[in-house]
Amino acid sequence: MATTRILEGLGRFYIVLLLGFLYLPIIIMAAMSFNASPFYQLPFEWTTDWYASLWQNDQLIAATWNSIEIAVITTLISTVLGSMASLALYRYEFRGKKFLQALLFPPIAIPWLITGTAMLIFFFGVGIGRGLIAILLGHVALALPYVIVVVSARLQTFAPELEEAARSLGANQWQVTMRVTLPWILPGVIAGGLFAFAVSFDQFVVSYFLSTPGQTTLPVEIYAAIRKGFTPEINAVSTIIIVVSMALMLLTARFFKFGGEK
């Protein structure tokens, strides 16, 4: 028992180390949003000027809202469509299934630069053009493979006998899916959603090709800003986003269980 406790303690310590590694750049990012030098120059000089000028920067704020909107919608659409597809790939055997699964990798493997260029040409050719709708179309497509891969990984731990048992008890397909399968794969679906959000929210290349003046997203604005002088306003907006999402997430964790606790 003692060994178990020591091992568990080590495990907890390890998680703290990992969080330290993950948050090191985030903390620096936040710190630099309160530093006076626009070039991250040290020694540190306290200021809140960057937050004040961020408040005046309508373009950056509008782009931030666009990013949030697009990421939320992308998450919703791709999680639903992706989970459906993973269910089908899990449940049914058919010719060409391996091919469909392999098709998930081109969007991940081909550098986004090429995919973005290809989308630009194609959307332009068929009349969709550029703008927020085009960005949304692209983001969902980029997020879908991630959702499908993640949800499928969770589904592999699912015993098909459970579905059959429910069926034999008279449940129809819909009931089986909603009452038996979905609760089991819910952690996977949520994880897929988190992936989709991240893919969309941090997506720069594809958004860059598909955005128009006035219809841009935050990463596009950030990339354009570094040409001139990357002001810590960018750090300020990123800090606000991290702090707000952290608060939202912790609240969610407080009131809503999704870890698939048994």
Binding site: F39, L120, R130, G131, I226, R227, G229, F230
Partner: protein, 354 residues
């Protein structure tokens, strides 16, 4: 601040609506395509222009000349004004991407230096395809903390004392032309590529990293990580005057690469009158002086604009001196084949240091 329009998006009709709003562009808008943070998008300048003319300016940006060409190619009719490096004007004209400009509509055009206005790169068949705006140099800049007195030769970059503290731009054409200068050749007619390659190969171990934006350079100097490197004249001036960084420009005795930026009107522009008004405003001395004072800028092609600067201004005193004029070589158009050859060489050099 704008609130999210989640619900609007969720309706399928939004797809069509957006397609139409994209097509129906208001006629009184002037769509400008330029580098970000390069004069045309200064908020005060946009406000002044809008107040004076009643047109509304919509800025869009590119991050490389190739991207600029791609943007006009794939968005016919979207842009009214585009800023094109003179060396790319040829390519844009040959691709029928830009239209001739009626310079009689531009009251400030007459004040543009004759050598710039008459540049064969901007004039084709007696028609003007580009209005010279500003020019500048790709020269050297130094971190003042690392030098007691400024160096005078390009050879300083190869000095072992600066090992690991040299920076150059990650751009094949710029790197090869720099190698040409260092090996005493004409940048527009490089005869001895082997000499260029040898020069650059020996430069590689000196290099800390490659820069791609002004911000890179300024951050590196601010954290005292570099001594010397290639830099643009306007950017060096801005780093010194606007950001108060210890940066100064050096125009080496071997010479420097000069470039000329010009405004053109894309073919299919829906607001040619607005475009003309905007270009005329951009070459106006009043705008230029304000730009230099508030932000820092390259040298105006308009002689009256330069004369309006204080006598000791960098852009007037240094850049205008006959001694400098003798040392600079203006960049001529680079063909696609040359560009690919330069890139192949540049990539090979970068792979060899791995």
């Amino acid at each position: 601040m704008r609130m999210p329009r989640l619900t609007a998006f969720l309706t399928a009709t939004a797809v069509f609506v957006s397609a139409f709003t994209l097509a129906a562009q208001a006629a009184e808008e002037v769509h400008v395509l330029n580098w970000k943070g390069y004069g045309a998008d200064e908020p005060w300048a946009v406000a002044n222009f809008e107040k004076a003319t009643g047109f509304k300016v919509v800025n869009d940006f590119f991050n490389s000349e190739q991207e600029m060409l791609t943007k006009i190619r794939t968005n016919p009719g979207l842009y009214d004004v585009v800023m094109i490096n003179a060396a790319f004007n040829d390519q844009a004209m040959a691709g029928k991407l830009i239209q001739p400009i009626d310079v009689s509509k531009l009251s400030n055009y007459a004040d543009i230096a004759k050598d710039k206005a008459g540049s064969p790169m901007l004039n084709h068949d007696g028609k003007v395809y580009g209005v010279p705006w500003v020019w500048g140099l790709t020269a050297l800049a130094i971190n003042e903390k690392s030098f007691d007195k400024p160096p005078t030769s390009i050879a300083e970059m190869w000095d072992p004392a600066h090992k690991g503290r040299v920076i150059i731009r990650d751009d094949a054409v710029e790197a090869v032309q720099f190698g040409a200068l260092a090996s005493g050749q004409n940048i527009n007619d490089i005869k001895d590529m082997e000499a260029v390659k040898a020069k650059l190969t020996s430069l590689m171990p000196q290099i800390k990293t490659f820069w791609s934006s002004e911000n890179d350079w300024n951050q590196m100097v601010a954290s005292n990580q570099i001594d010397i490197g290639t830099y643009w004249s306007g950017s060096a001036d801005r780093a010194k005057t606007h950001f108060k960084l210890p940066v100064s420009l050096v125009i080496p005795q071997e010479g420097s690469v000069a470039w000329l930026d010009a405004f053109s009107i894309p073919a299919g522009s829906k607001n040619v009158a607005g475009a003309e008004a905007f270009i005329n405003y951009m070459i106006d001395p009043k705008f230029y002086v304000e730009w230099v004072t508030k932000v820092g800028a390259p040298v105006s092609a308009n002689t009256k604009a330069v004369d309006a600067l204080p006598e000791d201004a960098f852009n007037r005193k240094v850049m205008g001196s006959p001694d400098v004029a003798k040392r600079i070589q203006f960049q001529a158009p680079v063909t696609d084949e040359q560009r690919e050859k330069y890139l192949a060489l540049w990539q090979e050099l970068k792979v060899n240091v791995k």
